[in-house]
């Protein structure tokens, strides 16, 4: 039986960013969105490129060059969109995350995430 690949944590963040950006998903916008999602961890532009390239190979996303825009000094954007395999992988990851969330909530109480959020604010980075 062929080995079924599941997206890693960082890949899940990038897939989520592409999903939320819809038609405006390209290098910089994905980078900014992933930075926001990955807080408080730092993210580099290079890591986004490598992950997008790998996910294109896995068939999770497809990409194409847009027309050049004056806003970027006449440079094109490489735009990304989820393929059905990427959507499926993201759904599976979300379901697994939901199960983890439920187990933790049972163990630590429903307000654990707010307490954790306050702790992170006190200890930045």
């Amino acid at each position: 039986m062929a080995k079924r690949e599941t997206p890693g944590h960082f890949e899940q963040l990038v897939l989520t960013a592409i999903l939320s950006l819809a038609d405006d998903a390209y290098g910089v916008s994905i980078y900014k969105k992933v930075k926001e999602l990955a807080r408080p961890r730092s993210v580099s532009l290079g890591a986004i490129y490598v992950t997008l390239d790998r996910m294109e190979d896995k068939g999770y996303v497809k990409s194409w060059l847009s027309d050049p825009t004056p806003a970027r000094g006449g440079r094109s954007k490489r735009q990304y969109r989820l393929r059905s395999a990427g959507e499926r992988a993201l759904q599976e990851s979300a379901v697994a995350a939901r199960r983890i969330w439920d187990v933790i909530s049972d163990a630590w109480g429903p307000d654990w995430s707010q307490a954790w959020g306050r702790k992170l604010k006190k200890e930045p980075g």
Binding site: V28, L45, Y49, R75
Partner: protein, 342 residues
């Protein structure tokens, strides 16, 4: 728009980014940077990753292994006196490593629309750096330049005949059939020309030693290598040669010819161990025996040569198995097209 880099900075960045990603990465860098410092910081973070992506896309493990073996042989053969002590091996390691890393980079920076092509500027710069490194390591500049020059010519020759395969990569249809059939025969012609050229080099190196060899066993080994080479040349000429396209026939006739040719060449590639590798085995074995019995030979070096030779033979066989599988897919396409034809 974020930071608009000065012309010199943009030119510098353009040269550093592989051509396949230049357009969007330059735009992204400008858009997500506010200052020159931030631009350079983003460039430093993105560049290694972009290069890694292109290496992953454009360089196969098989090519790296073949290049590593070929460059090791070329550098070892070019250094005079022949590499004998471990110190010389270690000194050769740096030029060899630079050469292989440079070739990988030359592939990563190759033209975006041609996957197999190397970037000539990166290849040329690599050549210069390797020669300088070899000279600093104490080797003769002429010897190293000759060895690497021969390797580059070989690389170019290996690349050149496969140019028509771009046509062969198109899906087979009635419209593309004449072009594809012609391109296939041209590819076969070039392959045979390349093999005959290599065989002539083997003959030039071995024929004189059939008389000049030190011992009878040595002369016998060269004689067997010459016989094996002549057999391979004959096979290429009379059994595996290209054939002219049928003149004046319709598409069905041309398709039948093309399908038969694909099947013939596929079977020839599958049979490579018998007609291409086996004829050299007796000469190589007798040659090894001759070297082992020679008083001046280093028996460890002779024994170490055996796995290298076997490894090269294995790679040749694997490449031909892969090529035969690719031809088999072409045969299936031809059969499918034949069934669709009225």
């Amino acid at each position: 728009m974020g930071f608009q880099p000065e012309w010199w900075l943009e030119r510098f960045t353009t040269a550093l980014i592989p051509p396949g990603s230049r357009e969007h990465v330059l735009g992204d860098l400008a858009e997500c940077s506010e200052t020159r410092g931030e631009y350079l910081e983003n460039l430093a973070s993105a560049l290694p990753c972009v290069i890694v992506c292109h290496i992953r896309r454009r360089v196969s493990k098989g090519t790296v292994v073949i290049n590593a073996i070929a460059s090791a042989i070329a550098l070892t053969a070019a250094t005079t006196p022949p590499v004998s002590d471990s110190g010389t091996w270690i000194r050769l390691l740096l030029p060899w490593a630079i050469w292989n890393a440079g070739c990988v980079l030359a592939a990563a920076y190759g033209p975006p629309d041609k996957l197999g092509r190397l970037n000539p500027s990166v290849l040329g710069a690599t050549f210069l750096v390797v020669v300088i490194a070899a000279v600093l390591a104490g080797f003769s500049i002429a010897a190293v330049a000759t060895g690497l020059g021969a390797l580059i010519v070989l690389l170019l020759l290996l690349n050149m005949p496969w140019v028509p395969t771009e046509k062969l990569l198109q899906p087979l249809s009635v419209d593309t059939l004449p072009d594809q059939a012609r391109a296939f025969q041209r590819t076969i012609w070039w392959r045979n020309a390349r093999e005959i050229g290599a065989a002539l080099i083997v003959l030039t190196a071995n024929v004189p030693d059939m008389w000049r060899g030190e011992t009878a066993v040595d002369r016998l080994s060269h004689g067997l290598l010459v016989a094996g080479t002549l057999f391979v040349m004959g096979y290429l000429r009379f059994r595996a040669g290209s054939r002219p396209l049928p003149a004046g026939g319709d598409s069905r006739c041309l398709l039948q010819f093309h399908r038969d040719e694909l099947v013939r060449q596929r079977d020839i590639l599958r049979d490579v161990p018998r007609w291409y590798l086996l004829p050299f085995i007796p000469g190589l074995l007798v040659g090894m025996l001759s070297k082992l019995s020679s008083a001046s030979a280093n028996p460890v070096a002779v024994v170490l040569a055996l796995p290298i030779v076997l490894g090269v033979f294995y790679l040749i066989w694997r490449v031909n198995v892969w090529a035969a599988a690719w031809l088999d897919k072409q045969v299936q396409q031809a059969i499918a097209l034949e069934e669709r034809m009225p």
